[in-house]
Symmetry: C2
DNA sequence: AGTCTTTGTGTCATTTTTACACTATCCAAA
DNA sequence: TTTGGATAGTGTAAAAATGACACAAAGACT
């Protein structure tokens, strides 16, 4: 039997961690916050990794994900959704990962299950500072990543897919845009997430018919071309829609 | 620090378990395999629970789910898909649950994370026998369940939702039907999963247009009404479809 | 005044969806 | 052998959604 059993308390649980795929949108493409583990941990294996940490025994999984997010970016109350659990028995076992593991207080030999979340952040709400707690975090375009440490690349793929499916069903994309945005920005966002071109006029028609945007009587300023009018997401109108059983945006 | 750390081995991991929502279809409604924990464990809290168990440190999550399924039903190579991870810190803590927990070798005070899976089983492939290993397992119509032990009811809801979304994207329903089935059976299956009525003629037209069914030149026998012709799912034709980027059944 | 860049808009042909009702076939019971 | 009961199987027309496609308008900059 197990005499090494942990009691419930506020200690870190050495067997379960949370990793976050934090998506942003730079108005051109979808980006992810990745952290640079530095040279020490990267003698073999990629330097870049998703932010994550072990969970405490007195918090639930959602709380743990929120905490990781808060610790890294200082933002609270962010759109967050679970992607799933990952964990092959021997995945964290390379000698070269030991230093890194110590830094997040994990035990190199432990068998760790990771619960992955994705979150949607307005990129303006977090600009990494060299002097901040997470001095080595950086927004990186999703499509420029081809590898990540541990199984984080696999997690990223799963998160992208989940986001893609989810946005067909709920208008969560607004979490990635400023409060006031243009239809073109929304258009580019959907193209980035769905990873395919969408006809401009058909996209605008479809979105407008849903009637979940408020057209602010306000225009872009300072752009070197015809200014676009600005819109706002209208939560109330969206609630009306869902209460009528609507759950398909038809993308 | 943690001196109670487990080394990787073939021991049970006291912190992570797997629960399975095993769906079946009795040709009328969607059912789930639930087990009766008996009176001992049910002094307070529902007797019925989902099958599950702790994972071993030398198996991955999918393997653990397959093992739980095999241990309960003896069936292997079944459709299986992860629903997600669940786990509030203090959820397993009632005195009355202790006996039950011991029976699956969990530690009553441990903080357990559960990874939930759902699986699809041809109901004919598993008929619970009173004498079998899982003598208290039973197919129960999904809609007749209003509570389950622990957080299993929440897990069941999540699994139903996941199944509902998934079947709009992939024709996984065939895993719930006999090899040879009628269009009416398929129709009732979709209505059960989507939990809404579907027009008969429109359903048949939609399915037939997909061209992923083979019409066997064979009819039902022994039914007290006009016999239906039998169909088979055609994997090859479905593969052709997906390779053309098809991923929306339009339900 | 002219150029550059992005916005914003309409139509038409095709496809998809929805709503809807009656005949055909088999079994069983009279 | 006739009849009743039950489910299978089928078509159409109207409405809605989709997909393809091109050009004028607005402002910034030179």
């Amino acid at each position: 039997m197990h005499n090494n059993l942990k009691k419930i308390g506020s200690e870190l649980n050495p067997n379960v961690s949370v990793d976050c795929v934090i998506f942003g949108f730079d108005l051109e493409k979808l980006t992810v916050l990745v952290i640079d583990r530095g040279e020490i941990s990267a003698e073999n294996g990629p330097r870049l990794a998703l932010p994550g940490n072990l969970i405490y025994d007195n918090e639930n999984l959602d709380q743990a994900a929120n905490r990781v997010l808060d610790e890294l970016t200082g933002i609270k109350d962010i759109y967050l959704e679970q992607v799933g659990a990952f964990g092959d028995p021997f995945r964290i076992h390379k000698e070269s990962d030991r230093e890194w593991l110590k830094s997040i207080r994990a035990q190199p030999d432990a068998r760790v299950i990771t619960v992955a979340y994705f979150s949607l952040v307005k990129i303006e709400d977090y600009q990494p500072h060299p002097s901040s707690f997470a001095k080595n975090a950086e927004w990186t375009p999703v499509n420029e990543l081809s590898e990540l440490a541990f199984d984080h690349f696999e997690i990223l793929q799963a998160a992208k897919e989940k986001l893609k499916q989810k946005i067909k069903i709920q208008p969560i994309g607004f979490n990635l845009l400023p409060e006031k945005f243009t239809l073109s920005q929304l258009h580019r966002l959907y193209e980035s997430i769905l990873d395919k071109p969408l006809d401009k006029r058909n996209f605008r028609r479809k979105i407008q018919k849903l009637n979940i945007l408020s057209n602010l009587k306000e225009k872009q300023r300072g752009v070197p071309h015809k200014p676009s009018s600005l819109y706002e997401f209208n939560e109330e109108k969206y609630q009306e829609l869902t209460q009528m059983g609507f759950d398909n945006f038809g993308f």
